[in-house]
Symmetry: C2
Subunit: 194 residues, 2 copies
DNA sequence: AAAAAAACCGACCGATCATTCGGTTGGCTT
DNA sequence: AAGCCAACCGAATGATCGGTCGGTTTTTTT
């Protein structure tokens, strides 16, 4: 692995665990074995490094969902939505660091001054909401889903699933056993019945 | 207002807007007019100050919900739950700073080393979940709510409502128009129908 | 193999950080 | 009025921070 990629990988872990301000370039240097000069040779400054990390996070998450979408073309609406929800929960576990970064306040704070950062965040949310909405709309056509507004339902659904993921990462309560309840809630939300 | 309270008030705003590490004691000193020596006279260190702020956040949030609960003794189960959801959304607007603090990663990170911090967080979540669960259980008795597990449903419901609040504060998408959709989702989740 | 370019190094810099400390003030008790 | 103590002050401190720079090594190009 090139030094640049090693820096990016370690930065992802440090930013997700300790946050933007809690991550020292000296620590990143010590972990990767790259001199601080090398880090600043590859990245203009700390914010630029964070932006590159966020870009990788965006690309890997969107890539995962694109791949998932292509394998589920035969399912009906509600099956697709439930599949996406399950896949989201699974990804939040396997790509913990990436999800932690977009769950922290760092990128949203940076988005207030950096259009690039805002663009990354919007890409992620647009993609996720589109996928939820697509399943809902398909369900409205094949009769497996009955809601008023597909977009708003997608947002509420996303807020619910993402909220569960957060409860899980915060570890104040054990939300790990909520999988079944979440699925029941998801089905109720989309059909109005069990 | 005493200097101590002025420090606490300004610290709440700074911690919520800029986070724990993004808040400088010198800035707090400049805003409040208190010398840095005065701040450290009232609070052992920065973490102690944050803990006091979090304690105030806990007390004010719990106080608000206690007061709200006492005025709704006549409603049936689902009305109470919907009332709590609406009140939660309203509070998230009027007590924006307090909610921002418990939405940041700062307290959860501190909770890993500080039992006091963890205790505050648990108090908040326990109280909120208990209130949701109480309404659900009342609804199961009077027939207005039909779910399997009241506690798990309370968690899913809370995750959904809190997720909407987060979507709102992050401002990547305008979630301000989701009020009606959230209420519909809430009702469906609790009854299995519109 | 020579030259050019890119990757890499680590000592160094100025700024900023949380925290300390010796001293002053003002109200309360005796 | 004397004594006391908590509130308050702000200059000073040592550590740490992001970032720079002049130089060396490695890779690519010609």
């Amino acid at each position: 692995m090139s030094k640049r990629n090693a820096i990016l990988a370690s930065a992802t872990r440090l930013f997700s665990r300790n946050g933007f301000q809690g991550t020292a370039m000296a620590e990143l240097s010590a972990i990767t074995g790259a001199a601080t000069g090398t880090i600043f040779h590859h990245f203009r400054n700390k914010e630029d490094l964070f932006l590159q990390v966020l870009n990788d996070v965006k690309e890997s998450i969107l890539d995962q969902f694109d791949r998932h979408q292509q394998t589920r073309r035969d399912q009906n609406g509600i099956e697709r939505v439930e599949g996406v929800v399950a896949f989201y929960l699974q990804l939040a576990g396997t790509m913990e660091d990436q999800f932690l970064i977009i769950h922290r306040h760092d990128p949203y704070q940076m988005a207030e001054t950096s259009p690039v950062c805002r663009s990354h965040l919007e890409s992620i949310y647009t993609c996720l909401l589109d996928i939820f909405e697509e399943g809902i709309q398909k369900g409205m056509q094949d009769g497996s889903v009955a809601v008023d507004s597909p977009r708003q339902t997608a947002m509420v659904l996303f807020a619910m699933v993402d909220g569960i993921v957060r409860l899980n990462t915060y570890r104040v309560y054990d939300a790990g056993t909520l999988y079944d309840s979440l699925m029941v809630a998801c089905r109720r939300l989309l059909t109005g019945s069990r």
